[in-house]
Each structure stands twice: as C-alpha cells, then as structure tokens.
Amino acid sequence: MGLASEMAEEFSKTEPQQDVADIPLLRIDAAVKKFGTFRAVDRLSLDIRAGEFFALLGPSGCGKTTLLRMLAGFETPDEGRILLGGEDIAQMLPHQRPVNMMFQNYALFPHLSVRDNIAFGLKRAGMPRPQIDIRVAEMVALVKLEGLEKRRPDQLSGGQKQRVALARSLARRPRVLLLDEPLAALDKKLRESTQFELMELQRRLGMTFVIVTHDQEEAMTVADRIGVMDSGRLEQVATPRELYEAPVSRWVAEFVGDINILEGQLETREAGRLMVSTRDAGTITVAEPRHAVTKATLCVAIRPEKVKLSRRGPVSDALHSHAINRLEGVVTDVSYLGGVTSYKVKLDSGAVLRSSMANTARIDIDAYSASQRVVAWFTPDDCVVLEQ
C-alpha cells in the first residue's frame, strides 16, 4: 500500500503534461469504514472536482452519511485514503481540516447569538476582530439575515436557523462545504425555493459542495453529478439526466424514479436492435446499448412517461412503425396528479404496466378511463437494457 502510493506520487510527478484542472479537488480512494463487522463504506472510490455541486444519494443506511462524516473528520476510515488537493486528510482531526459541514439539525449553539454563531469559526481561526465583523456582515447579507444578528437560535424560525447554519459553515470559506440533509427539516415550498438559492450561492461563490440527501428530486435539482449509493458502495456516478435515462443497473433504475421492468431472454440481434422475448409482454424490440450485452437473461426497463397510450395504437410512422412495441391491455387505475395523469394498464398476460401522460391541455378529450381497452406503445429507444 505504502509502496503503491509512493509509486503513484512518483508517477504523477513525472507527468507534467497533466492539466491542473483535471486533478480532482477531492479524491476518495478505496475508503473502508467498518462498524463491528458491518461495512458502512466498502472500498469506495470517488473523485469530486473543484467547483462541483455533488450529491450523494441513497436509501437510509446506505453509508452516505458515514462517507460525509469521514470527509468532515468525525469518522476515520479503516482503510483507504481521502485526498484533498493531493494531501491525505484521512487521519486529520475535524478541527484541523479545511472543510466545513452544515448539520442536518443545524447544530446551532443555543447560547450564542446569530452573530456569534457565524463568528465562532472565525475566532477559532484567529481572525482579527475588525475582519471578523466584516466577514460576519458579508455572510449575514449573503443569506439575507440582516437585522437578526442579535437573536438567539430559539428566537428564529426553521428557515432562519437553516440560513444561520449555512452562513456559519460558509464563513471560514472552506475548500469543500459538506451538507448533511440540509433541507430535510423545511416544508416543501420552502425546501424548493431554498434548493434554488443553494445552487445560486454555490455558482456565485464557485465553491465545491457535497450534499447528502435521500430525496432524489432534491439531488437532481441541485447537483451537477450524483453518486447513488447502496450498501456502502457507489452504484453509479452520473449527471442527473444520465442517471435517469441511462441507469447502469436494475437497482439504480428502480431507485431513481418510477420504472417498468420486463424480464426476458435475448433472442436475436440485428442492425442495432435486440429482440428480447419477455414473459409478460412477448417479444420487445430495443435499441442496442452502448455497453456490450454479455448475458442472455436481460431486463427491459421503460420509464412510465415513455409509455404512451392510444385507442388504436400509434399513429403510424413509416420509418419506425415496424419496430414500435405495442402491448394491448385494459386500464385499471387512473390517478390524476395535476401536471400528469398516471395510468395502470393490465396487459393480457396479467402484468401491469405503468404509464404517465402529461396533461398538456386543460380540457382533455383523450383522457382514458378505467376498464377501457388501450394500446400501450413505446419505441426501441425508449427502452433501457439492463443485465440482472
């Protein structure tokens, strides 16, 4: 291990052509964290670039919070390295790290005023008093808390506390800001507006943010890239769009958003098309994925909004009509959700296919009702092929 890292350093030294911007600000290298025999973080590696807004997304207990706490220094990895700007900080104590964290419950000091909460970290850094005053004023303005400087945390609303916590964690200008479910305690409306403020702030300050959340909408809204975690490992690291449209595994596909999964066997392969024979929906034509398909047993995954319904099947498209997948069935469930209507269609095989259609017109004469017979259709490009 020691030799290997030395060699890696040697290697990077002898490669002057490597662009500085390409070196990640934060590199997690095969980090392991065990609690007893349980591996909360299991040989996880991840690079986060400077100026990036990165989200760690996963179900509770997946290890995302442990990973964040390792970055903050509250947990020490049992194995592996954490490099910040090339320096291994894995064993460094929290108060010596140039990163700051915004806590889930805000952890504001109840005996200190808003001003003193924000100034706390600056005083510890030995900043002279006049500069502290300037920085605090700057932070107060940044999070729009003017006039509340003298208040105690118990005299603030939830949204105001959240802002104080944000200002406090930003005041030291950390190289990385860690956010642990920062908006979980806010109500839905406030959470949404705060998400946009966070993004705006991050862009304006050009800082690196790492946010932990279990809310996929939140992750997709704020983050440039998302790391989806399960059982201490990263399942996929991708942009929100890639994650949704091109999940790499069935688990990710099912975790992020809704999806229809049809299991089947690879039948034939021709001209960029795969024919998959499924138990529930017959033979389905799918576009051949970029990654090589090696196994015979496959999953065909289709997002509900890609499944269109019509009374007689798709309006014929000369070029593609032969490849369009058509499945007949009966509408069993209609949920009107405002922007979209969600349908459940029971196929003749007995399997249920979900479809959601945008309500683009106020008066929808094309709405389907329960027990109506329909054709559900989707193109080969709408499908994602996943190996089990």
Binding site: H95, M101, Q104, L108, F109, P110, H111, R124, R172
Partner: protein, 304 residues
Amino acid sequence: MSTRNIFARPARLAAIAPWLWMLLFFLVPFGFVLKISLSQTAIAQPPYVPVFDLTQGFAAIKAALAALSLDNFKLLVSDDLYVLSYLRSLVVAAVSTSILLLIGYPVAYGMARLPQRWQAVAMMLVIVPFWTSFLIRIYAWINILQHDGLLNKILLALHLVSAPVVWLSTDSAMYLGIVYSYLPFMILPLYATLAKMEPSLLEAAADLGSSPRQAFWLVTFPLSLPGVAAGVLLCFIPIVGEFVIPDLLAGSDSLMIGQTLWLEFFTNKDWPVAAAAAVVLLLLLVLPLILYDRLQRRQLEQAR
C-alpha cells in the same frame, strides 16, 4: 369546551393543594417560630412569655402583643457565638459546595458520555446509597475514621503512617461526610443537563476549528451552567443548616448554626433565642432560594 369543563374543577383544586400545604406546614409553623423569637425566655411551660391566651379577652392579647420585643435579635448580633456560627456555616457550605462541584462535574460528565445502557447503571450506582439510612451511613464513616478504624488499619498496614492518625472530630472528617452525603445532589442535576446536550453541537464546534478542550469551555460548559447552578444551590442551601454531620464528625470547638440552634433549644432551653436564630437562618437562605426558584422557572419555560 366540554373537556375544559370536565377538567376545570380538579385542575383548580390541584393548584390549591401546594398552597394549602405551604400554609399548613410552612407559614403557620413559621408564624409560631416568629412569635416565639419575639418572646422572652421564662421558667415555665411553655418556657417563654408572653403566651397568647384567647380566653383572657382582648386586653390581655393587647398586653401580650406589647410585650413582644426584638431583644433576641439584638443578642444574636451582639454575641460573637452566633455571628461566628453563621459565618462558619456559610464558609463550610461554600467550601463543601466547591469540592462537590469539582468532584461532581467530572463524574456527571463521564456518566453522560457512557454508552446509553451503562448510563442507567451509573445512575443506579449514584442513587444506591440512598437505600441505606443517612444516619447509618454517617455512623459507618465514624467506624471507618475512628482510632482503630478501617482507614488507620490500612494506612498502618501499608506503612504510610507509623501511628494512627486522628481523623474523627476534625474538619476534614466533616467535609468528607458532607461531600459524601451530598454528592448525588450535585451529580444528578449536572448529569441531567449534560446528558440532554446534542452531541452534534460538539461536532459543530470541532468542525469550526475548536480543539476538544476549546469545545468543552466554549460549548459544553456554558450550556451546562443551569445544571451547575441547580447543583450548587441544591447542596449549598441544606449544608448551611446542616446539623447531623458536623455534630457527629466535626470537633466541638467551633459550631455551625444548626448546632448552636440545637444547643440553645435543648441544652439551654432558650426557645426564644433559638427561634430568633432560626428566623435569621431562613432570611439568610431566602436569597439563594429565590435564585433557585427563578432558575427552575426559566428552565420550565424553555422546556415548553
């Protein structure tokens, strides 16, 4: 509306109960004590005059009222014995409370940081001495501290001393007894405030650049001050009036006010002076009592 009607009467009655208790068991007896403190000692039954006798008519009561005087209080101020007793009580209480805080804080802090299930065990260990009578525990200390007691035996066996040390009837023995007896009253309120403190506050302090020591002084300690105040007052107030421990463990050359009071009452049979001493003691403790009451109220409001 209907629920309010159902609960209104019992709630009001319940609110009266503590006041009734205070009236019957504090204010009325205190009235008696106050009256006796204004009387003069006499060889009689009861041993003081005047005595209010409602059967003698209004004139007699008027005369009795006129006979009341502040002479006993003047005596308390003029005689060194009493002034010194009060001072000794205050000094003993202050010193004991300081020692209690110095021992109790680390213990409570350690307890609050134990794993959850061990906290309950530690709590039991703090409370367990209460299962034995207080007097028996003090007598046990006499046994340990006496000339041929356990402590001297151990010291001799270890060759730390060449002859038995006099422990009993010293101030050290008294402080030992007081600290031993009052320690739970210091630990429990401290533990209560320290245990409910958010661990994330210390993480936040560390995250913002505090070393563990700075985090303690900047976050833990200021936030535990209500517990410190509660523990200090809970020990200081009763120690000022302490009688049993100094009487059994301390020497007889200087007395605490509780002992002086007992002497006046039982040995000298001077009820009026003893009553006056009691009234002054109460007045001395009113200030810390009010402080304690304020503190509790503030905590209740914060809890709401």
